[in-house]
Subunit: 233 residues, 4 copies
Amino acid sequence: MVNVVLISHTPDPERTIAAAARVSASPVSAVELLEKLTPDRVDRLIRRLLSSGHLSVFEHVSFTFAIEGISRVTSHQLVRHRLASYTQQSQRYVSLKEFNYITPATISDKPEWGDKYHEMVRAAHDLYLKMLDAGIPAEDARYVLPNAAETRLVMTMNARELIHACSLRLCLRAQWEIVELFEHIKAEVEKVAPRLGAELKPKCYRLGYCDEVQSCGIFPTRAELADKGERGK
Amino acid sequence: MVNVVLISHTPDPERTIAAAARVSASPVSAVELLEKLTPDRVDRLIRRLLSSGHLSVFEHVSFTFAIEGISRVTSHQLVRHRLASYTQQSQRYVSLKEFNYITPATISDKPEWGDKYHEMVRAAHDLYLKMLDAGIPAEDARYVLPNAAETRLVMTMNARELIHACSLRLCLRAQWEIVELFEHIKAEVEKVAPRLGAELKPKCYRLGYCDEVQSCGIFPTRAELADKGERGK
Amino acid sequence: MVNVVLISHTPDPERTIAAAARVSASPVSAVELLEKLTPDRVDRLIRRLLSSGHLSVFEHVSFTFAIEGISRVTSHQLVRHRLASYTQQSQRYVSLKEFNYITPATISDKPEWGDKYHEMVRAAHDLYLKMLDAGIPAEDARYVLPNAAETRLVMTMNARELIHACSLRLCLRAQWEIVELFEHIKAEVEKVAPRLGAELKPKCYRLGYCDEVQSCGIFPTRAELADKGERGK
Amino acid sequence: MVNVVLISHTPDPERTIAAAARVSASPVSAVELLEKLTPDRVDRLIRRLLSSGHLSVFEHVSFTFAIEGISRVTSHQLVRHRLASYTQQSQRYVSLKEFNYITPATISDKPEWGDKYHEMVRAAHDLYLKMLDAGIPAEDARYVLPNAAETRLVMTMNARELIHACSLRLCLRAQWEIVELFEHIKAEVEKVAPRLGAELKPKCYRLGYCDEVQSCGIFPTRAELADKGERGK
């Protein structure tokens, strides 16, 4: 089961973003700005930056998460977000004596397949352990382990990339496991930066339409939107 | 079996690097430099840039490879090089009817384990196919597939990052499969850019020592080197 | 005067993008895909990728430009696009005996200010030359040179970042000199990749609305669009 | 005069780095690691990571600086470090009524040139102000301002990139103003992360030799080192 803990982050993240933003168009120093910004001013600045797409200042704050209980399927997808830092538990150096794995609901929902799945996954792990005992290195024995195998990692991502990654990974087109992961990430961010956390949303919320071929229904596609606009004339 | 084909690259890569390098300290235009550089001058410039570590100009040329026959173990390691572009065959959208997989030599060398390994991997793929037939989506059925499963991808990397990635991945501390992959990559580069290809080497060649705890023997560790220097006095 | 020459690029860029895109969802090899794609198929793929925002495959092709005749104002803005490679003529190592500089039209249009501007810029360069003669290093003498001073550089950018940079820098909110620079860049790309070149447009064309506070008139702002949609109901 | 204030940073940076590093080769969770690491263990881990060049874990902590009193010469050099985030005071949106500028010591040391320099810089700023009054936009009037003009910015850089940037910018081959800037940055980091701060050093300290053509004397060049090793045999 996915487990996400925010282990560290830039302190006072929203104030830091707002102060950095003000430096660009102000003759006053960042230190002074940081002190003088009222919570209300921070609030208005954050909202204006988001609506106008001036996102570079969101890079000044970053969040470090301990992530556990995700499959290697999902860690392989996750690390494709290149503007972030990852330290992952190594299957080369850590022998997985205790074995946890993920089971998709589409499999566990069908008892006959769930049973076969569990049996297969356990048999693979059993062979893995036997190969370790026979002196085969962990880095090679792991070739028999399934994609389902759980992994853990530490991930640091700045707020701009969090907004971007969530825009893709909270979209229902993403796979269920990574959607779930980013829902946990969003919940952790909301605890310490509620305005920013509220902005971690699928891309359609920012665009005002769905840019996929078919919409999930939250927003119309761009073609549907254009059509509606026409009819409005 | 790993198969690497260089499908595209910046034309005349070494001349392009040399011309870009000369722009920095020359009052002449890049277009003129590109035309006037003799092969001999290109050669000397490339060597000087490499020895002095002025590697930023190597970013101006890039190489696009079609990579096949590597395991998901290795693709997961490969995509950790973030300064490159990857398009990987999706296990979500492509149903792997025909199944190829990698077998480490430490397993195939021991017939009793090799047999068990092949049997297990095929059983996992067999269950995968049956789950597909039962209507389980490919993106979920694949959780049962082993790390050994073959994947293919297109990778574009610039010459600076190639030098860096090879410095790590041609080191004998890297896992055999990714060492093999980068040996193929190096061979492809050497065909079209021999000087650059020759520079794709483990990091110890550039450092002049091994910075790992224990050396493979090609170069002494830094501690051993300091020791030798002392005795030389 | 800004002068841009495309000195190198990934050969057959649109076919390369299309082949890479197909790898993701196809059981066929990249090499085979590259050979078999008809021009018509390439055309349709490129258009579909662009409309659905699947832009990562555009990273597989890159373009190298020799850029001359831009001010240091503009080069300072340009290098803020971090996902690109730059080699710039150094004011540390190159003594600017021959001095060229940029004059904004808002200044040259007013003869009285134009004259004062030229006089001041030339006086600054004159002092620069005298300081060089007096043995002051070029890297320090240049502190007196104006922002207007011309510079030259070699820039390599992949197609995805070109789309992004043009979306910002062809917007009329950008400064006139960098707009002009990217118009030249677009013109160079169009010569070798017409479909891609045609897509190098201000961000409003992709969004379908203007996300700035005030629109230049090409597209309505998002607020205006929402308003129109409402009235359409 | 350069002024650097560390306005924010990942709390407890060295412990965070050490915990992340341990995740890679440990079966224990990051949260548990973070709690249990003794200061002594943190110390040993940080030193081992640095000496073996395993620097990716240093990306998990970042530092945000308010930087003031540097010239546009130096800000142009600074933003070339692409793996960092910058928000700079805009010369487009901020009219520089109050004008500060940098004077290189090689100029101020020679009174006759110092006087001419100050006169020229002030004359340029005077013309700038008059052009503003005449209705020329600030973004264009600034073309007459010198490279010497002071700027301010907020910069966020992670510890890995800080190590890299310092390795280049604390080298005596860098220009005096950016050396001074990074000395201030180092001093700020040392206050909150003394082990890490101590590691912010010119590249020769890490390499064990100077990789430039000529050494400043701290370390021998690689050629000189090889020569010494030979004689030691």
